[in-house]
Amino acid sequence: MIGIIDCNNFYASCERNFDPSINGLPVVVFSNNDGAIIARSEEAKALGITMAIPIFEVKKLMQKHNIIGYSSNYTLYGDMSARIKSIIRDFFHDVEDYSIDESFVSCKGFKYRDLFTYVKDARDKISHWSGVPVSIGIGATKTLAKVANRIAKKKYRDVGVYIIDTEEKRLDALRNTDVTDVWGVGHRIGKRLNSVGVFNAYDLSMVDEDWAKRQFSVVLQRTVYELQGLSCIPLELVQPAKQNIASQKSFGIYQTEFEPISEALANYTARVAEKLRKQKFVAGGLTVWLGTNNFSKTDAQYFPEISTVCDVPTDYTPYLIKRAVEGLKAIYRKGYLYKRVGVMLTDLRNNTDGTQNLFLADTRNKEIEIIKKVDRINRLNGRDTVRSAQQGFAREWKMKQEHLSPKYTTRLQDIITIK
């Protein structure tokens, strides 16, 4: 048996955990640049706020019902996600972290325990200890676990656990699940399936597997098998080694000039370099790219990209920024409305791998010392207290985040206050 543990309205629940004044009120979270809605509390869903809807379309509705909106606080969500994944491992041995708010778990070896009692207890503890409510669905395959999870959320919200452990339950669950709600199907394929008379998950489980492969893909064929109860998508327990670390963000407003774009790039590079050091890697190379707004029907489009190699694999921010900005110089052209810039560190190796250039060892030791101190100062006093001058201070490229909540779990000045 495989389970999927999934946080209910994850981002909205994170916000609510640290602010009791919004308990029971409708809450939504905005995407980057406060553009669209990416998370909704149950109350907000009930008021008709749909997923991914642009904010300008629901402004009136939000005012009318006093719906509280937050900019996405990924620092907070990332930290909460790491906590929840750690708590999950207190209860389940084999875990695959599937996304920021979902983990697959193996329920093998639970045969002699009462599975429901165990999972229900785990679910309650994960929810209470983190402060974010979770739902657990369990089935013979990942796809069935997903179906069960939907039922847990929709029908047994207070219990938070649903297990498909009999043939009767499997058939009943499939008949009550729309084909577009099946894991991996989605709307486009769902529409095509509808046109040939496949409307719910049960219909899909009954189609000829070879037909599914011929007409659609091997992916859909697997889904058919999985719905029947034959597991074809195993748990991936080993996280593949990181091949690269990237950062790309959209600008709050279009940028045309080189200076602010290079400033943004320097900041993204500083971020990925921090991540690199945290993971104890050094980077052998980097790639930089630029982009206009590909959704615009009128703007001239330009998406250049450039890659380069470091003299020595390194994690030293000033060097990486220097190389990134050199790359940007080579691809930047005047006359476009730029919407994003990105950087990716490539050819990652462990920082103990001795591809050291003997003649540079002295500099390298100094760099290690300096960057250690910089990381320490920034950890204690807040990000970018000490920064590379190229990161600048103007920040006109910065994301719009007008409704950002405090970083309750990662910044001392932001912790909750208790009366």
Partner: protein, 150 residues
Amino acid sequence: MANIQVYRFKQSDTELPLFLSNIQAGFPSPADDYLEECLSLDDICISNAASTFLGRVTGQSLKDVYIYDGDIAVIDKSEKPEHKDLVVCAIDGEFNAKILHIDKLQGIRLLSANPDYPPIIIQELTDFRIWGVITFVIQNVKNRSNDWHY
């Protein structure tokens, strides 16, 4: 007479690398075999990191248990709240620190450690949740000594 033993303390930089470069040369230190783990405040104050959060105390509602405005509370959400625990509750949209009092006769009450704040009977609360249990409090004693009657 309080007896205080002094231990070597860990820098908050998680570890001290023995070699700062990848080029390892020279003799190992004869002390290497005798190195012991450093002490860390985390080991003392945090038993379940994933469920532990920090909060700042404001006001004087806990002054009789020597917890004051500005102190930092270590809150463990995995601790089961018990009689006489110091808990963080969400009451009417705010976080409050209270002493949980469970008594057959008086029911469950939330007490403050300050005579100016009357006990709260939880049956009378509409919006109430225990958010977590306070396990440790970090207090800047050096800034506090002016409050003492010595």
